[in-house]
Protein backbone atom coordinates (compact mmCIF):
# COMPACT_ATOMS: atom_id res chain seq x y z
CA UNK A 1 0.00 0.00 0.00
CA UNK A 2 2.68 2.44 1.04
CA UNK A 3 4.74 1.82 -2.15
CA UNK A 4 1.70 2.62 -4.29
CA UNK A 5 1.06 5.82 -2.40
CA UNK A 6 4.73 6.70 -2.82
CA UNK A 7 4.52 6.08 -6.55
CA UNK A 8 1.47 8.33 -6.82
CA UNK A 9 3.14 11.10 -4.84
CA UNK A 10 6.20 10.80 -7.08
CA UNK A 11 4.12 11.05 -10.25
CA UNK A 12 2.29 14.10 -8.91
CA UNK A 13 5.54 15.71 -7.88
CA UNK A 14 7.00 15.01 -11.31
CA UNK A 15 3.98 16.55 -13.00
CA UNK A 16 3.70 19.70 -10.97
CA UNK A 17 7.10 20.40 -9.49
CA UNK A 18 9.30 22.57 -11.63
CA UNK A 19 12.76 21.15 -11.08
CA UNK A 20 15.43 22.00 -13.55
CA UNK A 21 17.93 19.26 -13.94
CA UNK A 22 20.70 20.79 -16.05
CA UNK A 23 20.40 19.77 -19.69
CA UNK A 24 23.89 18.23 -19.60
CA UNK A 25 22.74 15.65 -17.06
CA UNK A 26 19.42 14.88 -18.68
CA UNK A 27 20.96 12.12 -20.78
CA UNK A 28 21.76 10.13 -17.66
CA UNK A 29 18.22 10.15 -16.34
CA UNK A 30 16.92 7.42 -18.68
CA UNK A 31 19.71 5.07 -17.63
CA UNK A 32 19.01 5.87 -13.99
CA UNK A 33 15.32 5.15 -14.57
CA UNK A 34 16.17 1.80 -16.06
CA UNK A 35 18.37 0.94 -13.08
CA UNK A 36 15.66 2.01 -10.67
CA UNK A 37 13.01 0.00 -12.50
CA UNK A 38 15.28 -3.02 -12.39
CA UNK A 39 15.79 -2.83 -8.65
CA UNK A 40 12.10 -2.26 -7.99
CA UNK A 41 11.21 -5.32 -10.06
CA UNK A 42 13.93 -7.25 -8.27
CA UNK A 43 12.53 -6.13 -4.94
CA UNK A 44 9.04 -7.19 -5.95
CA UNK A 45 10.34 -10.59 -6.99
CA UNK A 46 12.20 -11.02 -3.68
CA UNK A 47 9.01 -10.03 -1.87
CA UNK A 48 7.05 -12.71 -3.72
CA UNK A 49 9.73 -15.25 -2.95
CA UNK A 50 9.58 -14.23 0.69
CA UNK A 51 13.23 -13.19 0.73
CA UNK A 52 12.72 -9.44 0.76
CA UNK A 53 15.17 -7.47 2.88
CA UNK A 54 14.76 -3.75 2.92
CA UNK A 55 18.42 -2.83 3.41
CA UNK A 56 19.49 -4.91 0.42
CA UNK A 57 16.70 -3.38 -1.63
CA UNK A 58 17.54 0.19 -0.66
CA UNK A 59 21.29 -0.15 -1.15
CA UNK A 60 20.68 -1.95 -4.45
CA UNK A 61 18.40 0.80 -5.66
CA UNK A 62 20.74 3.68 -4.94
CA UNK A 63 23.84 1.71 -5.92
CA UNK A 64 22.35 0.72 -9.28
CA UNK A 65 21.18 4.22 -10.06
CA UNK A 66 24.50 5.79 -9.14
CA UNK A 67 26.63 3.23 -10.97
CA UNK A 68 24.45 3.40 -14.08
CA UNK A 69 24.68 7.19 -14.17
CA UNK A 70 28.42 7.11 -13.52
CA UNK A 71 28.90 4.59 -16.31
CA UNK A 72 26.92 6.74 -18.69
CA UNK A 73 28.98 9.76 -17.67
CA UNK A 74 32.25 7.87 -18.10
CA UNK A 75 31.10 6.67 -21.51
CA UNK A 76 30.35 10.25 -22.51
CA UNK A 77 33.81 11.33 -21.39
CA UNK A 78 35.57 8.48 -23.19
CA UNK A 79 33.33 8.75 -26.24
CA UNK A 80 32.39 5.09 -25.92
CA UNK A 81 28.70 4.25 -25.53
CA UNK A 82 29.17 2.40 -22.25
CA UNK A 83 25.63 3.29 -21.25
CA UNK A 84 24.59 0.62 -23.72
CA UNK A 85 26.05 -1.96 -21.34
CA UNK A 86 23.85 -0.63 -18.55
CA UNK A 87 20.82 -0.61 -20.85
CA UNK A 88 21.54 -4.15 -21.97
CA UNK A 89 22.15 -5.61 -18.52
CA UNK A 90 19.28 -3.86 -16.80
CA UNK A 91 16.97 -4.57 -19.71
CA UNK A 92 17.64 -8.28 -19.74
CA UNK A 93 17.39 -8.43 -15.96
CA UNK A 94 14.07 -6.65 -16.13
CA UNK A 95 12.72 -9.29 -18.45
CA UNK A 96 14.17 -12.05 -16.28
CA UNK A 97 12.63 -10.64 -13.15
CA UNK A 98 9.34 -10.16 -14.88
CA UNK A 99 9.32 -13.77 -16.08
CA UNK A 100 9.99 -15.04 -12.55
CA UNK A 101 7.34 -12.75 -11.07
CA UNK A 102 4.83 -14.00 -13.61
CA UNK A 103 5.61 -17.61 -12.80
CA UNK A 104 5.38 -17.00 -9.07
CA UNK A 105 2.04 -15.24 -9.35
CA UNK A 106 0.64 -17.91 -11.67
CA UNK A 107 1.74 -20.75 -9.41
CA UNK A 108 0.27 -18.93 -6.41
CA UNK A 109 -3.05 -18.56 -8.20
CA UNK A 110 -2.94 -22.19 -9.22
CA UNK A 111 -2.25 -23.44 -5.69
CA UNK A 112 -5.11 -21.29 -4.41
CA UNK A 113 -7.43 -22.89 -6.98
CA UNK A 114 -6.31 -26.33 -5.97
CA UNK A 115 -6.95 -25.55 -2.33
CA UNK A 116 -10.42 -24.27 -3.11
CA UNK A 117 -11.20 -27.44 -5.05
CA UNK A 118 -9.98 -29.53 -2.17
CA UNK A 119 -12.24 -27.58 0.17
CA UNK A 120 -15.20 -28.16 -2.11
CA UNK A 121 -14.51 -31.85 -2.19
Amino acid sequence: MIPLIGLLIGIILGLFLKVDIPAAYSTYVPVAILAALDSVFGGFRAYLEGKFESDIFISGFFGNVIIASLLAYLGDRLNVPIYLAAVFVFGSRLFNNFAIIRRLILSMARSKNVRRKNDEV
Binding site: P3, G10, L15, V29, S54
Partner: protein, 236 residues
Amino acid sequence: MRRVSSQLWVGIICMILGFMITYQLRYIKTPKYQYTTRQFENLVKEAEDLKKQRDELQKKVEEYQKRIDEIEQSVASTNKIASKMKEELDNLRVLAGLTDVEGPGIEITITPINDISNKQPSQIYYKDLIDIVNELNSAGAEAISINGERYVGRTQIRQAGLSIKINDSKFDPSQPFVIKAIGDPAILEGAFKMPDSIIEVLKKIGGFDIKIVRSNNIKISKYNKLLEYKFVKGSR
Protein backbone atom coordinates in the same frame (compact mmCIF):
# COMPACT_ATOMS: atom_id res chain seq x y z
CA MET B 1 8.34 -1.18 13.85
CA ARG B 2 11.01 -2.45 11.54
CA ARG B 3 8.41 -3.53 9.02
CA VAL B 4 6.86 -0.07 8.92
CA SER B 5 10.18 1.67 8.40
CA SER B 6 11.18 -0.69 5.63
CA GLN B 7 7.80 -0.17 3.97
CA LEU B 8 8.36 3.55 4.25
CA TRP B 9 11.70 3.19 2.52
CA VAL B 10 10.12 1.22 -0.28
CA GLY B 11 7.49 3.94 -0.54
CA ILE B 12 10.17 6.61 -0.80
CA ILE B 13 11.97 4.67 -3.51
CA CYS B 14 8.75 4.25 -5.47
CA MET B 15 8.24 7.96 -5.10
CA ILE B 16 11.67 8.67 -6.55
CA LEU B 17 11.01 6.28 -9.42
CA GLY B 18 7.64 7.84 -10.19
CA PHE B 19 9.18 11.27 -10.08
CA MET B 20 12.02 10.35 -12.41
CA ILE B 21 9.73 8.70 -14.94
CA THR B 22 7.21 11.53 -15.07
CA TYR B 23 9.99 14.10 -15.17
CA GLN B 24 11.63 12.37 -18.08
CA LEU B 25 8.33 11.95 -19.92
CA ARG B 26 7.63 15.61 -19.50
CA TYR B 27 11.15 16.52 -20.55
CA ILE B 28 11.12 14.68 -23.87
CA LYS B 29 7.60 15.62 -24.75
CA THR B 30 7.55 15.24 -28.51
CA PRO B 31 6.35 18.33 -30.29
CA LYS B 32 2.96 17.71 -31.77
CA TYR B 33 2.08 19.02 -35.18
CA GLN B 34 0.36 22.29 -34.80
CA TYR B 35 -1.83 21.83 -37.82
CA THR B 36 -4.02 19.01 -38.99
CA THR B 37 -3.64 17.68 -42.51
CA ARG B 38 -6.59 19.64 -43.78
CA GLN B 39 -5.32 22.88 -42.29
CA PHE B 40 -1.97 22.09 -43.83
CA GLU B 41 -3.52 21.72 -47.26
CA ASN B 42 -5.29 25.02 -46.86
CA LEU B 43 -2.08 26.70 -45.81
CA VAL B 44 -0.24 25.31 -48.81
CA LYS B 45 -3.04 26.54 -51.06
CA GLU B 46 -2.89 29.94 -49.45
CA ALA B 47 0.85 30.10 -49.95
CA GLU B 48 0.45 29.22 -53.60
CA ASP B 49 -2.22 31.87 -54.05
CA LEU B 50 0.01 34.45 -52.44
CA LYS B 51 2.88 33.44 -54.70
CA LYS B 52 0.65 33.88 -57.72
CA GLN B 53 -0.44 37.26 -56.45
CA ARG B 54 3.15 38.26 -55.94
CA ASP B 55 4.08 37.26 -59.46
CA GLU B 56 1.20 39.24 -60.87
CA LEU B 57 2.15 42.26 -58.85
CA GLN B 58 5.72 41.94 -60.02
CA LYS B 59 4.49 41.92 -63.60
CA LYS B 60 2.50 45.05 -62.88
CA VAL B 61 5.57 46.71 -61.44
CA GLU B 62 7.46 45.94 -64.61
CA GLU B 63 4.67 47.36 -66.70
CA TYR B 64 4.65 50.56 -64.73
CA GLN B 65 8.41 50.73 -64.97
CA LYS B 66 8.09 50.55 -68.72
CA ARG B 67 5.57 53.35 -68.71
CA ILE B 68 7.85 55.47 -66.59
CA ASP B 69 10.64 54.83 -69.08
CA GLU B 70 8.39 55.85 -71.94
CA ILE B 71 7.34 59.03 -70.21
CA GLU B 72 10.92 59.88 -69.39
CA GLN B 73 11.93 59.25 -72.96
CA SER B 74 9.19 61.43 -74.34
CA VAL B 75 10.07 64.24 -71.94
CA ALA B 76 13.76 63.87 -72.69
CA SER B 77 13.26 64.05 -76.42
CA THR B 78 11.48 67.39 -76.17
CA ASN B 79 13.83 69.14 -73.76
CA LYS B 80 17.60 69.37 -73.59
CA ILE B 81 17.88 69.78 -69.83
CA ALA B 82 15.44 66.98 -69.40
CA SER B 83 17.51 64.76 -71.64
CA LYS B 84 20.63 65.51 -69.56
CA MET B 85 18.72 64.71 -66.40
CA LYS B 86 17.45 61.51 -67.93
CA GLU B 87 21.01 60.48 -68.72
CA GLU B 88 22.08 61.16 -65.16
CA LEU B 89 19.10 59.28 -63.83
CA ASP B 90 19.97 56.27 -65.97
CA ASN B 91 23.54 56.36 -64.74
CA LEU B 92 22.41 56.47 -61.14
CA ARG B 93 20.06 53.58 -61.77
CA VAL B 94 22.92 51.49 -63.11
CA LEU B 95 25.04 52.40 -60.09
CA ALA B 96 22.24 51.55 -57.69
CA GLY B 97 21.70 48.17 -59.30
CA LEU B 98 18.22 48.96 -60.57
CA THR B 99 18.92 47.84 -64.13
CA ASP B 100 19.74 44.55 -65.77
CA VAL B 101 23.41 44.54 -66.62
CA GLU B 102 25.77 42.29 -68.52
CA GLY B 103 29.48 42.04 -69.16
CA PRO B 104 32.53 39.87 -68.65
CA GLY B 105 32.88 38.13 -65.32
CA ILE B 106 32.72 34.83 -63.51
CA GLU B 107 30.06 32.48 -62.32
CA ILE B 108 30.63 30.47 -59.15
CA THR B 109 28.41 27.45 -58.56
CA ILE B 110 28.52 25.87 -55.12
CA THR B 111 26.65 22.59 -54.89
CA PRO B 112 26.39 20.86 -51.52
CA ILE B 113 26.91 17.12 -51.99
CA ASN B 114 24.22 15.25 -50.15
CA ASP B 115 24.38 11.72 -51.53
CA ILE B 116 25.59 8.48 -50.01
CA SER B 117 29.24 9.12 -50.80
CA ASN B 118 29.20 12.02 -48.34
CA LYS B 119 28.82 10.98 -44.74
CA GLN B 120 27.51 14.22 -43.36
CA PRO B 121 24.82 16.32 -44.98
CA SER B 122 26.48 19.50 -46.09
CA GLN B 123 24.91 22.90 -46.14
CA ILE B 124 26.06 26.29 -47.22
CA TYR B 125 26.61 28.63 -44.33
CA TYR B 126 25.50 32.20 -44.84
CA LYS B 127 28.84 33.57 -43.69
CA ASP B 128 30.55 31.72 -46.53
CA LEU B 129 28.36 33.64 -48.95
CA ILE B 130 29.22 36.91 -47.23
CA ASP B 131 32.91 36.05 -47.44
CA ILE B 132 32.62 35.27 -51.14
CA VAL B 133 30.76 38.50 -51.86
CA ASN B 134 33.31 40.42 -49.84
CA GLU B 135 36.15 38.81 -51.78
CA LEU B 136 34.45 39.61 -55.07
CA ASN B 137 33.97 43.21 -54.05
CA SER B 138 37.58 43.55 -53.07
CA ALA B 139 38.56 42.09 -56.43
CA GLY B 140 36.69 44.88 -58.13
CA ALA B 141 33.40 43.27 -59.00
CA GLU B 142 30.99 45.82 -60.40
CA ALA B 143 27.81 43.83 -60.06
CA ILE B 144 27.09 40.71 -58.01
CA SER B 145 24.09 38.48 -57.77
CA ILE B 146 23.41 35.38 -55.70
CA ASN B 147 20.79 33.03 -57.08
CA GLY B 148 19.46 35.88 -59.18
CA GLU B 149 19.24 38.26 -56.23
CA ARG B 150 21.19 41.40 -57.03
CA TYR B 151 23.64 42.39 -54.33
CA VAL B 152 23.13 46.05 -53.51
CA GLY B 153 23.96 48.28 -50.56
CA ARG B 154 20.97 47.17 -48.56
CA THR B 155 21.14 43.46 -49.32
CA GLN B 156 21.13 41.21 -46.30
CA ILE B 157 22.58 37.70 -46.30
CA ARG B 158 21.53 35.96 -43.18
CA GLN B 159 20.27 32.78 -41.66
CA ALA B 160 16.49 32.78 -41.29
CA GLY B 161 15.40 29.58 -39.63
CA LEU B 162 16.45 26.76 -41.91
CA SER B 163 16.96 28.93 -44.94
CA ILE B 164 19.26 31.71 -46.03
CA LYS B 165 17.61 35.04 -46.63
CA ILE B 166 18.94 37.22 -49.42
CA ASN B 167 17.03 40.36 -50.40
CA ASP B 168 14.11 38.99 -48.34
CA SER B 169 13.96 35.89 -50.55
CA LYS B 170 14.59 32.59 -48.86
CA PHE B 171 16.91 29.91 -50.22
CA ASP B 172 17.49 26.35 -49.11
CA PRO B 173 21.12 26.04 -47.94
CA SER B 174 21.29 22.44 -49.12
CA GLN B 175 20.54 23.51 -52.70
CA PRO B 176 23.14 24.84 -55.16
CA PHE B 177 24.00 28.52 -54.98
CA VAL B 178 25.01 30.42 -58.10
CA ILE B 179 27.02 33.58 -57.59
CA LYS B 180 27.58 35.80 -60.58
CA ALA B 181 29.93 38.74 -60.71
CA ILE B 182 30.82 41.21 -63.42
CA GLY B 183 34.36 42.50 -63.50
CA ASP B 184 37.77 41.49 -64.81
CA PRO B 185 37.37 37.69 -65.02
CA ALA B 186 41.08 37.01 -64.39
CA ILE B 187 41.23 39.16 -61.27
CA LEU B 188 37.91 37.87 -59.98
CA GLU B 189 38.95 34.28 -60.40
CA GLY B 190 42.41 34.97 -59.06
CA ALA B 191 40.90 36.20 -55.82
CA PHE B 192 39.83 32.63 -55.08
CA LYS B 193 43.05 30.96 -56.11
CA MET B 194 44.93 32.02 -53.01
CA PRO B 195 45.56 29.19 -50.55
CA ASP B 196 43.55 30.74 -47.74
CA SER B 197 40.65 32.02 -49.81
CA ILE B 198 37.16 31.06 -48.82
CA ILE B 199 36.68 28.76 -51.82
CA GLU B 200 39.88 26.86 -51.03
CA VAL B 201 38.77 26.56 -47.41
CA LEU B 202 35.39 25.20 -48.51
CA LYS B 203 37.13 22.74 -50.81
CA LYS B 204 39.33 21.60 -47.95
CA ILE B 205 36.35 21.09 -45.66
CA GLY B 206 34.75 19.03 -48.39
CA GLY B 207 31.14 18.28 -49.06
CA PHE B 208 30.87 20.91 -51.78
CA ASP B 209 31.18 20.78 -55.50
CA ILE B 210 32.54 24.17 -56.50
CA LYS B 211 32.88 25.41 -60.04
CA ILE B 212 34.21 28.73 -61.20
CA VAL B 213 33.48 29.56 -64.82
CA ARG B 214 34.82 32.59 -66.66
CA SER B 215 32.52 34.13 -69.20
CA ASN B 216 32.46 37.12 -71.46
CA ASN B 217 28.77 37.53 -71.12
CA ILE B 218 27.47 37.36 -67.58
CA LYS B 219 23.92 38.61 -67.22
CA ILE B 220 22.83 40.00 -63.89
CA SER B 221 19.28 41.07 -63.34
CA LYS B 222 18.25 44.14 -61.45
CA TYR B 223 17.37 44.53 -57.81
CA ASN B 224 13.72 43.60 -57.82
CA LYS B 225 12.56 44.76 -54.44
CA LEU B 226 11.27 48.14 -53.41
CA LEU B 227 14.02 50.53 -52.44
CA GLU B 228 12.57 53.16 -50.21
CA TYR B 229 13.93 55.34 -47.46
CA LYS B 230 11.68 55.94 -44.50
CA PHE B 231 14.10 57.57 -42.12
CA VAL B 232 16.87 59.02 -44.23
CA LYS B 233 16.59 62.70 -44.96
CA GLY B 234 18.69 64.02 -47.79
CA SER B 235 20.98 66.96 -47.30
CA ARG B 236 23.20 68.62 -49.76
